[in-house]
């Protein structure tokens, strides 16, 4: 079950365990902040449950929440940070 998944984060290939959330994958790949707030400050996942919207990133071109989405092979993730 626990095989690895390959995805690209801001153009860089990353390998993470299957079944983890996109938010977790980004953290595993070393990204601490994944979004820039209006004042330029870094922000990252906070509520973990689809409420705060801090973890939003573009997944395959569409804005989605990293804490709700699961990783999949070939995913293209773009952060705004």
């Amino acid at each position: 079950m626990s095989t690895d998944v390959r995805l690209r984060v801001d153009g860089v290939e990353v390998v993470v365990p299957a079944g983890c959330s996109v938010a977790a994958a980004l953290r595993l790949a070393g990204h601490v902040s994944t979004r820039r707030a209006l004042d330029g400050g870094g922000r990252g996942a906070c509520c973990g449950m689809g409420v705060c919207f801090e973890c939003r990133v573009r997944i395959n071109g569409v804005e989605r929440l990293g804490c709700l989405a699961r990783v999949a092979d070939g995913m293209e993730i773009v952060c705004d940070a």
């Binding site: 601490v32 902040s33 906070c46 973990g48 705060c52 395959n60």
Partner: protein
């Protein structure tokens, strides 16, 4: 646009929604269970779908697997195109679901309160970090402070520790006397006792401090340390993460949009979990914070009632009553202290989405005034975070939700051109 139809639509696949959908099918109705997460389980059973470790989770997740309930995950309810026609947004585009009756089991979120540094990456909700970890967020070897209020702090700390984190301390803002009374109040709830004791067992060696709260999070690009106040002393603790939450707030937005009556921030229901609007049932934390046993009992009642099986078996009535008493104990003993209203400084961001400063919001007359004059609550989260904070900080009543319930592609709001798909059951 994809379209499905079902007899009973259950929104939210936490304990309440799962129990509702399974019970509705057992009572002879067709149910469709939808959740915005990738798997069923809600908050407490996150990550257990393929690996249930908890007894109740195993029981209900197995029941769900074996039941003809149709399921769809990764879909968020964002609007109703008409009464009985729900619009969901997902990675594959919008989905419409036609239903005769609706059960809303949207659970609760954490109350987060502003203090200097709370927007730094590395500061999470307490349950927030817990559920992130359950979905693979790495914490092994990290130094973590758990803070805020309520029994969830223990559960969160236990999960973090199990995942290899070093939990530096648990700071509970409630005083020792109230905590002792809460513990005593647990006596009539043997299950809760066991749970609490087991959690403490798993947390052996972790400092648990009452009357203590985090005043400030420090760091430049990410969290580096917190300042913890306990009584008159303040201590600086270097750490990698802070998990801080101040209790739970029911997610009532869906019910509110449908016109259901609320009281004290929770949906009002009758003994059949029926709301004030015909055909709409609500179950679980959205009817008031009460824990997993209450969610399961209410879910069963709602599922059976929505399926037309009105009478409630004695055992179920007993479960409901007992869990309602526990909910009361919970509310009574974790009241938030006044000092927490003083943590934010003038420059502290209150609305994380629109970066509204505390002082600018505080100068307004009401939540609505602040919305109009400062953009408070006008961003992505639609005041889910700052609204619950403003309620505590200023006594403001949260604005009534407007559609969409969450930001969603414009394509969710146009009329479908394609033919409806067959009923959910056949295509499930």
């Amino acid at each position: 646009m994809r379209e499905l139809s079902t007899e009973i639509l259950v929104v939210g696949a936490g304990p309440a929604g799962i129990a509702a959908a399974v019970s509705a099918e057992r009572a002879g109705a067709r149910a469709l269970l939808v959740d915005m997460q990738a798997e069923p389980g809600g908050q407490i059973w996150r990550g257990q779908w393929n690996n249930a470790t908890d007894r109740a989770a195993r029981r209900w997740l197995t029941a769900l697997r074996g039941s003809p309930v149709a399921t769809r995950y990764g879909l968020r309810l964002v609007d109703f195109a008409a009464p009985g026609l729900a619009v969901f947004d997902g990675a594959d585009g919008p989905l419409r679901v036609r239903c005769e009756r609706l059960i809303v089991a949207a659970g609760a979120r954490e109350r987060l309160l502003p203090f200097p540094g709370w927007t730094l990456p590395g500061v999470f909700g307490a349950g927030g970090l817990q559920v992130l970890v359950k979905n693979g967020w790495p914490v092994a070897g990290q130094r973590i402070v758990v803070a805020g209020s309520g029994p969830l702090l223990l559960a969160a700390a236990a999960t973090l520790r199990k995942a290899g984190a070093q939990v530096l301390c648990i700071a509970e803002q409630t005083g020792a006397a109230d905590l002792a009374r809460f513990a005593a109040g647990l006596a009539p709830h043997p299950g809760k006792w066991l749970q609490a004791a087991a959690l403490r067992g798993r947390l052996a060696g972790v400092a648990y401090r009452c009357n203590a709260w985090v005043e400030r999070a420090e760091g430049t690009e990410r969290l580096e340390s917190v300042r913890l106040r306990a009584g008159r002393s303040v201590e600086r603790i270097a750490c990698d993460a802070l998990a801080v939450g101040f209790g739970l707030v029911p997610n009532t937005e869906i019910a509110q949009l449908l016109g259901c009556e609320l009281r004290d921030g929770a949906v009002v229901v009758d003994v059949h979990q029926h709301s004030s609007v015909a055909g709409i049932y609500c179950a679980g934390e959205i009817c008031g914070i009460g824990g997993v046993d209450q969610a399961l009992a209410q879910g069963e009642v709602a599922g059976r009632a929505a399926a037309g099986s009105g009478e409630r078996p004695r055992a179920l009535r007993r479960d409901c009553a007992r869990s309602a008493r526990f909910a009361q104990t919970l509310r009574r003993h974790f009241a938030l202290r006044d000092e927490l209203r003083e943590l934010a400084t003038a420059d502290t961001v209150l609305c994380r989405c629109e970066n509204v400063r505390y002082a600018d919001a505080a100068a307004c007359r009401s939540q609505r005034d602040a919305r109009l004059q400062t953009r408070l609550g006008m961003g992505h989260c639609q005041a889910r975070i700052c609204g619950a904070a403003g309620e505590f900080l200023f006594g403001w009543t949260a604005a009534t939700p407007r559609p969409p319930l969450a930001p969603a592609p414009l394509t969710c709001f146009t009329e479908p051109t394609s033919d409806p798909e067959p009923p959910a059951q056949e295509s499930a």
